[in-house]
């Protein structure tokens, strides 16, 4: 008997606090699998955001830093500039990365900062009870858009991959999803690539993971993943948005 699948070593034994069916657990595991496969656990430092995954520092076995809301790319920049041989990743939600942290995100990207950014986009502010996010869809009902997001007064969603790809500098930007097995396996590959890029000193890699929030969307885990397929992915198409590696030329 050989093991086909088991919990990665880079995840601690602490039980995850996320809601049943929350894809954070899947995405944490994909990050840990990448760290395991690349053999970098001993020289990785992760930066946790403010959001449902604020306590990510308890779930990864590597050194971890808790950042102020939105500031993870700046904290990661400090870490990377101090320890260029270490592998630095941030793990951020949509409020953290695309609302309060938009400046830090854009500037880390435009500096081609050699870090790995994992961006979890579930179109809502989960931790604080379901308010509108910069990535909430037009018409989406949230606690702060109770009549549905009105684009006239509340603006249109931000498409982070498209936005950052307009910059010259960032090395790799890809959008993936985790709503079914096929997509999870693609996401796993993308996340590992984003870490490998950093190991090779290539620069800024961002993987946007289209995720879900069953609790605040008011859906079962199954229905939530269907909503990802039917509504989120058409608005946020999956694929590689920026690839400055030689193969892409």
């Amino acid at each position: 008997m050989s093991v086909v699948f088991q919990k990665p070593k880079s995840l601690t034994s602490k039980e995850l606090h996320y809601c049943p069916g929350c894809p954070h657990g899947i995405i944490h595991r994909l990050v840990a699998e990448a760290i395991d496969n690349l053999g970098i656990e001993g020289r990785t430092i992760g930066v946790a955001p403010v959001g449902c995954s604020v306590m990510a520092y308890d779930y990864f076995t590597c050194d971890m830093v808790e950042a102020a809301h939105g500031r993870a790319p700046a904290v990661a920049t400090g870490l990377k500039r101090s320890l260029p041989e270490d592998i630095i990743f941030t793990y951020q939600g949509d409020g953290d990365l695309a609302s309060i942290g938009m400046a830090e995100t854009v500037h880390a990207a435009t500096r081609n900062e050699n870090i790995t950014v994992i961006f979890v986009n579930n179109a809502i502010y989960g931790m604080t009870g379901g308010q509108m996010a910069p990535t909430s869809l037009p018409g989406q009902v949230t606690q702060t858009s109770p009549y549905g997001r009105d684009v006239k007064t509340q603006g249109y969603p931000i498409k982070v991959c498209e936005l950052l790809s307009a910059l010259d500098a960032p090395y790799y930007i890809e959008r993936v999803a985790v709503n079914n097995v096929k997509n999870v396996l693609k996401a796993k590959k993308a996340i590992e690539k984003a870490f490998r890029n950093q190991i090779e000193g290539k620069g800024f890699s961002l993987i946007e993971v289209v995720s879900a929030c069953p609790t605040n969307w008011g859906l079962t885990p199954q229905k939530a993943l269907e909503w990802v397929e039917d509504k989120m992915i058409p608005y946020y198409p999956l694929g590689v948005y920026k690839d400055r590696s030689e193969e892409a030329n």
Binding site: M1, S2, V3, V4, F5, Q6, K7, P8, L11, E15, L16, Y18, C19, P20, G21, C22, P23, H24, G25, I26, R29, N180, V181, V184, L185, T220, P221, Q222, L225
Partner: protein, 68 residues
């Protein structure tokens, strides 16, 4: 020759594994309540398992270990 182990105590009964299984051999056991207060997912017919690990791939809580 496939063996799937569930760490029932940490299962949150989300059911994503049940949906993912191509052999439809997983189910939420409504007669069991684990120490977290959830109905955990269980294997109903190990002999049909092909060790594809789709269940474990979709599980957010690393409940499932797959061996072959």
């Amino acid at each position: 020759m496939a063996k799937v182990t569930f760490n029932e105590d940490i299962c949150k009964g989300c059911g994503l594994c049940v949906d993912a299984c191509p052999k439809h051999i997983l189910a939420i056991d409504r007669n069991k309540i684990n120490r977290k207060g959830h109905n955990p997912a269980v294997m109903t017919d190990q002999s049909k398992c092909i060790a594809c690990a789709f269940c474990a791939t979709m599980c957010p809580d690393c409940v499932i270990t797959v061996e072959k």
